[in-house]
Symmetry: D2
Subunit: 406 residues, 4 copies
Amino acid sequence: MENSEGRRLGIAIVGAGGAVATTAAAGVELMRLGLAGTQGLPLAEVAPGGRFSRVGDIAGYTALVFGGWDVVGDDLATAAEGHGVLGHRELAAVGPALSVMRPWPAVGDVSWCTNADGRHLIVAPSKRAAVEQMREDLRVFGEGVDAVVVINLSSTERMADLASPQLATLEGLERAIDEDDPGIPPAVLYAYAAISEGVPFGNFTPSVACDAPALVELATDRNVPVAGKDGKTGQTFIKTVIAPGLRSRALKVDGWFSANILGNRDGEALADPESNKSKLQTKGSVLDDILGYEVEDHVVRIDYYRPRGDAKEAWDTIDLVGFLGEKMQLKLNFLCKDSILAAPLVLEIARLLDLASQRGDGGMQEQLGLFFKAPQTPAGQRVEHALHVQEELLLQWLAGTGSRTE
Amino acid sequence: MENSEGRRLGIAIVGAGGAVATTAAAGVELMRLGLAGTQGLPLAEVAPGGRFSRVGDIAGYTALVFGGWDVVGDDLATAAEGHGVLGHRELAAVGPALSVMRPWPAVGDVSWCTNADGRHLIVAPSKRAAVEQMREDLRVFGEGVDAVVVINLSSTERMADLASPQLATLEGLERAIDEDDPGIPPAVLYAYAAISEGVPFGNFTPSVACDAPALVELATDRNVPVAGKDGKTGQTFIKTVIAPGLRSRALKVDGWFSANILGNRDGEALADPESNKSKLQTKGSVLDDILGYEVEDHVVRIDYYRPRGDAKEAWDTIDLVGFLGEKMQLKLNFLCKDSILAAPLVLEIARLLDLASQRGDGGMQEQLGLFFKAPQTPAGQRVEHALHVQEELLLQWLAGTGSRTE
Amino acid sequence: MENSEGRRLGIAIVGAGGAVATTAAAGVELMRLGLAGTQGLPLAEVAPGGRFSRVGDIAGYTALVFGGWDVVGDDLATAAEGHGVLGHRELAAVGPALSVMRPWPAVGDVSWCTNADGRHLIVAPSKRAAVEQMREDLRVFGEGVDAVVVINLSSTERMADLASPQLATLEGLERAIDEDDPGIPPAVLYAYAAISEGVPFGNFTPSVACDAPALVELATDRNVPVAGKDGKTGQTFIKTVIAPGLRSRALKVDGWFSANILGNRDGEALADPESNKSKLQTKGSVLDDILGYEVEDHVVRIDYYRPRGDAKEAWDTIDLVGFLGEKMQLKLNFLCKDSILAAPLVLEIARLLDLASQRGDGGMQEQLGLFFKAPQTPAGQRVEHALHVQEELLLQWLAGTGSRTE
Amino acid sequence: MENSEGRRLGIAIVGAGGAVATTAAAGVELMRLGLAGTQGLPLAEVAPGGRFSRVGDIAGYTALVFGGWDVVGDDLATAAEGHGVLGHRELAAVGPALSVMRPWPAVGDVSWCTNADGRHLIVAPSKRAAVEQMREDLRVFGEGVDAVVVINLSSTERMADLASPQLATLEGLERAIDEDDPGIPPAVLYAYAAISEGVPFGNFTPSVACDAPALVELATDRNVPVAGKDGKTGQTFIKTVIAPGLRSRALKVDGWFSANILGNRDGEALADPESNKSKLQTKGSVLDDILGYEVEDHVVRIDYYRPRGDAKEAWDTIDLVGFLGEKMQLKLNFLCKDSILAAPLVLEIARLLDLASQRGDGGMQEQLGLFFKAPQTPAGQRVEHALHVQEELLLQWLAGTGSRTE
């Protein structure tokens, strides 16, 4: 559909062998083979690829190329089969292409994420040396494509303190890397390596990465686009669609209870209370921002539940107060698939970060907020969570009239 | 809260003793007594009342005065008690005020609505004479207030053919009235009387009223604002909130099944298959417009179910197709209250029709589309159903920059 | 698991190429190949096959052999693929066995069921001759097995009047057959042929078949076991599990609303209002019997909804009144698979009808009531619907102490 | 309805001012006034009161008299108003009767239950002295009635170790009381006092009480009936109704996820992780017993959620595996009211413990298992959880043919 001689974009994924990453890679291959359409790809109609707007080419879906790191060394065909997202026909079709993709050795640190216990690790005498290896990986990867972006899809790390000396300033971070300080989350190292190399970085996880002040500083200095955090896929996506409607009708949200169950590796990671806490935090503030008042009883629970595998389920029950103080309830039940919702967003974020880079738009990319549970926003500024407002911002930016292009 | 010396607006309701009408009247009285807040009133914050925008005063909620027709002659306190919407405390508080409100004799026609079988009827030798009586009612009502609007809240009539000679042209309608033609639905007579009298008319029911071409012609000629039809309260409201979000994420709607149960008088009327058909039609086209493609399997069912009374329930199950053709499901369950959702919209429509009248905006009021399941739209023009887009249109009009004000 | 030299039982199915029938046949084949376990088979543990109780051998699951009639002549492998119940792996495994099974020409009558429009028809000059052909089919089929039973799985026919002269007495039915009377539903012809031939007959559909008084008379005279009607698979199964519990806690059922959506051929047949009526009737009386009082507001809706295919969905909302008249609600949502729930019941009914035949238990088999929505019960006797009571009856009969064995 | 000169039974409640206790007392008063029927009372039809069976009178509902202890000293009218269970009309009707009921000073111990922080406390120099005070309270209460039973309705305590020296043997418990050992949960003290006084004891909470081996020993020695524990009201009640049905159809439960939200004082107590653990334990083993195999993924969550108050909500999603290994899902959503479900069970337990006492049936009352989440059962014996089996046991015992009466 798009010009095969168009721009080729390399996506280097942190956690390249994970469920979302392999679904993204397999999906692109299935599109290449004509076995999959563009369902679930938000920009398939408005920005399918090709020359776009005033400045810049946007890479077509089938011009995307995958690389990346993983603490498990399995090739992507093996990894994809293990995740159970794709059916037998799909696996058979993409097997040849995926079996030759093998992740690069990664940095894993079980003190930050108990799940990151693989043995396919970067051998380096120091954190600084590990960062150098990552940068070298990106340079080699970049030789075969027109540009590279990095997307973080690794398991959720425990919460880090953004005010700690290692993360608060670029100077502190540089020193911490030099001193092999254990207080640096691996996700931050990846972001540091990418930005230092001039490569855009998208953080699809709840972990602290390019939102650390130290890295915002670096991204601004180097004028490298960054965006995050935590992909808005299932329950929070629906929440940011429904809540604006409730506000429009002045239906007061007296409480909102959200249960989530999922059974994939991401779910297992969240069985660790520390990682769970990171996840819950990015989910928390969404409502208050949209509604314009504090919902005192906004409870969110996430539970690992094996039988579902990658097919997660969300159940929400919402207590509403309407005219004359009368109570009503709205309940939502979303039977969805984690990787199927996440993978297309990963492709769009990568394509748009690359477009921003071509346009010379560095630093935080607020117009990508619609893809994230906790959109990166300049300090002190109100965070926009309403999906339709976020979408309008992106469309304006794409059309070249958004504020980002000034 | 608003100036008590502000503009006084009279609302003449067709079906003044119904559940929605009495809830609206009681609600205004409760606000007057300081016993109810403004929950559920969409414009409570943006247009609470007082001088508004460039032209016109907007009536405050507590400056609304109720009148209207009903085929049942009970006073409004008695009627409200029978509907079971309000609690004992509320009924006790508003009893004195409502018990002195008694509907004017009405035109009912069981050949158009089996439910309209009351005996509190206009005694008139002809349809033309009945229309004259309605106009006289409006003139008398208007003496005590600054302005009057009419809102149709009567039970749903069976479907009428807009292309029939009685409804297709103003000339045909005039002749049909003169000839006492049984092919004129009562709702059309009310609309004809109001518009002839220069009084704005809002159609909150699925019946044919001011959307008949004959009446559009009259409203345009006389420059009288009209709006309809069928208040967007429960399931369709939620549908027009959710569907834009699904489109934003390119989640293909493969099917949408909607069940509704309700047990009030409106529900009983819908137990008549002909009235039910009218209702289903106004619900039908909503999805296709928003999504931009035809949803072949959009099934809507409405059932009368006594145990709920006024507290209706909607259940939706939506079949989605996402990335790589994978199937997912979203289910919605809305435990709501018909009159509690409808009454505040009635108040807002009345206040805005009056504002339009002051601004000199006659004919169809497209900026009120957010309040209706089937927004009245110029022939041949695409109907906008997405709630957030509709809301934006209204806000622009309120701010005086919308196209309606040119 | 069971003795391969055990009793071989032939199941002749009316509608042999349907979704339930092909799932049953494929399931037996998958068990034979060791590719399926006994999940979903209610008697897998208590009566897996082999010599059972005082009298009679019970056929093992893998000793079941399939035959039967269908108005469509496709082989069972082709038919199974079309129904979309089984996955590719299962279809591949059972393909060789099913592709050699081809239904016998059938009697179809679109005046009784609009769905029965196939062209693979018995060529016979009269109804009597068609019956003779069916009996001949059963005799030929019986040559290769130890015994035969017939199970009716054809699409639901429109309602028939059991008091009509054709159905009320055996004499009337004989005369009607002789006179080629169009007032005989095809299902009755099949039942007549089977019982006449001494072959047990199970009616898994809502159609009138062996419950016509004429056939009860015949089955009693000939001492042939019969059972029906309408397999209790999805929503009604759950209903007869829940309702006894509500009665145990004295929670008054004030209303019960049941919505069903399904997208298979059975669902299409029910889109015909006449067939739908038959279905609703067998679903209707269940509650009152269990609860011991009339539930005035028991509403059941069935809708054809293509996107689901064979995977039907039931949604129930139940209004309960508890201590001090307080209202509560219970909601059920069953995402199930029609043929997957039905096929194992078909196997059990067939095995048990055969056991009854060996025991000399002719006529209505009340102990099989747990498998049916409208259990066949002697005239004037209370129908037992509570699943746990029905199960107890069957277990007692199996143990040889039930009243049926006297 | 029952003889007003019948047996008068006093119910002494631990936690007499709680939501369940005040609902029970108010309910009896409303029945006495003819303002409430017998909905929700499981034995209203089979054992309404009066002479029953071979031995013993059963107290009628309106012959029940309330007393008991509470750490908060408010009269029951004040307490009931605070719980928000009853409406204004009910509160007004029972106010006069309830306002003269004032709980006796209680033993509370925040080290066992953080919620038990009231100041209406028994003043006693030692645990032994406190026990003596409780016994004195029971003797005084007993003077005005024919018999007394004690029911524990106090907030859930943290888990206690039944193998600890204080609880494992009667000798150990006696010594611990004498030594003022802090290792005795308050609930155990109440049970000890009641049994010592020959008064039957029912434990409606998840706390350790009469199921401590020390107290089983005492109850057996003194031949005093005891029963527990943890009233089976909402989600677990439904679970023990549904699970037997799934077993009947051989639908394998692959996983069962249960979420609970409630906003009353009981819910607040469960916000304490230690109390929550006690609660979850009594809920846990239910499924495996009924199904006959271990459900690996049975997850139960309970959350405090203020907006609901006493109206709790349960949501269950169940993963089923049926014929040919096909997956299905059943979801339950129970919108119920905690005290409304619990109070009538409390009345029944009290009446039946009294009947057992008259019959001379001491020790554990297994026939009362249907009222409890974790029915007290002799050590080493299988626990019966299926509601319909439990009900059958009770009915047999009532009829005098059950094993308990031998």
